[in-house]
Subunit: 343 residues, 2 copies
């Protein structure tokens, strides 16, 4: 199936895309947060330790045994006084990252959270199980593998700021893609946003996302990268709760032979990909499962769109398109698609 199929929506957009206006003030009803999911675990049989917690404070005898909560996720919300849309927007981050993905850009400019608040959505930004304010649990006792830390070189190449081999330990010697939209001068600021990840927590993460959907939806959801699979599966588990799903460069997708995509009739799916996929292993491989999934969705009569940004005149976008210099333009595309697709 051609990626240009069903593109009436985009044919119109392609002539009307403009950068969103500067942020206006927003009237906010409440900013708050909660943790959802997780459960109690118990540790026993470990010796007490003597620990000084604060400089100048006497040491305390600390008993490490006891009960703990693990595998919860963190969700922050901003509710508008008068949202323009019936459904809130949920923003789900990718691997090795947190909700900060949506909150700011490495160059200091406002992120998609602020964009969609300005657009009139109540916005929920989450930190998945193990990440950021969701906290993490002892390993290997509870998390069964070692955490992984992403080096700057991996981020530079995997997120397509520059071609393979173009990272250098000296910022002056790094060769980004000449047309990159990522603010590569802010690589260190981006690296500070990274958090350790485990590869063995998909099940509790999916469970927590499903609980989030049950609590705050009906909703529309925007997922990124590793968040793609969690979003696709959340929609399969609660197709009545998710009114539209936007997947920004999902790094995977369910096998359509193993799930019933027919139940997604009422869940429009938008896929958005940036530039230089073919220049950047493993992207030519990573894109295959989402492509196959999209074809299966379309074949089952689900409304889908696949936006290849370079095809539509937007060059140089990285995997972190919500942080790219033209990120407001991409957010505007997504917002227009949502406004047309979700009832």
């Amino acid at each position: 199936m051609s990626s240009r199929a069903h593109f009436g929506f985009l044919a119109i957009l392609a002539t009307t895309v403009v950068v969103a206006p500067a942020c206006a003030d927003i009237l906010v009803k409440e900013i708050g947060s909660f943790h959802i999911g997780g459960h109690e675990v118990v540790i026993s049989g470990q010796p007490t330790k003597e620990v000084s917690f604060t400089a100048g404070m006497a040491p305390l005898q600390i008993d490490p045994n006891g009960a703990f909560e693990i595998e919860q996720m963190y969700v922050q919300y901003v509710k508008l006084a008068a949202p323009k849309f019936k459904y809130p927007l949920l923003l789900w981050h990718g691997g090795g990252l947190t909700g900060v993905t949506w909150e700011t850009k490495p160059d200091g400019k406002p992120g998609w959270q602020m964009f969609f608040l300005n657009r009139g959505y109540d916005v929920y930004v989450s930190d998945a199980v193990e990440r950021g304010r969701a906290s993490w649990a002892r390993y290997p006792e509870f998390f069964t593998s070692e955490p992984m830390f992403r080096p700057k070189k991996e981020a530079w190449e995997l997120f397509r700021f520059g071609p393979p081999g173009s990272y250098d330990s000296s910022a002056a010697n790094r060769r980004s893609f000449p047309d990159t939209q990522f603010p590569t001068e802010a690589l260190d600021q981006f690296a500070k946003q990274g958090v350790p990840r485990w590869v063995t927590n998909d099940a509790p993460t999916q469970t927590a996302y499903d609980q989030l959907v049950a609590r705050v939806c009906p909703c529309v959801i925007v997922v990124h990268s590793q968040g793609g699979n969690f979003g696709f599966n959340a929609a399969l588990r609660a197709p009545d709760k998710i009114k539209a799903l936007v997947a920004l460069e999902p790094s995977g997708a369910p096998d359509p032979d193993k799930v019933d995509v027919g139940k997604l009739q009422a869940v429009p799916h938008l896929f958005v990909y940036g530039d230089h996929l073919q220049d950047s292993p493993p992207w030519p491989t990573l894109v295959k499962a989402p492509q196959r999934y999209r074809i299966a969705l379309a074949g089952a009569g689900v409304k889908t769109e696949w936006i290849d940004l370079p095809e539509w005149g937007m060059k140089g976008n990285s995997h972190m398109m919500m942080m790219d210099r033209n990120s407001d333009q991409i957010a505007d595309l997504v917002a227009k698609w949502l406004e047309q697709s979700a009832d």
Copy 2:
């Protein structure tokens, strides 16, 4: 020195304390965040690993070597369209916790972030080095000790939800202080807010806080528990930048014989303590350093107040007073003191 000295302010307040009105809508200019502090470290000589990142995705060869950012902190801000106060308010959390301390209460009610936004302050909420969205670094390579995880029993007793020995693994059998203001039915939700902590990161944490002060102050700061020492030291390092300091149950304080409190002439200090200190080891010990520090401040002519909440008719407050049922009343006390003390 009597804790009732210089209490003209409180003598008035004691007859006028009212619960703050329900939240009104706020006109927000911008919600955003940044990371501050931290630096690059390099790992070398480790073997590559084959890792599957996402279900259905082909395994990748991952090189764990390279450059990383560590010891940064995370700062989220909400800027009002028309703040009533000249200086923003910074909220610094305590040990084993994150900025979530200020964002919500375990019973789901709005936290102090929302209270002070309603009051008219721009508010900055941070996650200290190693906590939440600040991320954490490999140990023992970079963080030189093991992380610590706080059991529910430790939280229950150390934070004075109930007397020593009153925690039970069954919620039904826990005996809280009869007059406790903490929503003990929400202990699990509170436990989900906890994050691992290290006891060897005071120096980089202080550095990051000092950098935060240099970036966003002049300001007023509210610190809690372990945050107390960081706040006291930040004021000593930048007395011109901090217009008032509120310490909620600081768990330590500088030795006044080793610092020059005389430079704090223009930095009013408020200390606030809850109930059942004498019933709850180690609090009778922990309170001594802040008491001694406050006496030294007052002796040097620094404006100080020491609010012992039970003395002023507020019974049953825990160490987590910003989460207690009457937390708005305490926030109101703090707000009134700030309005009177900071120019």
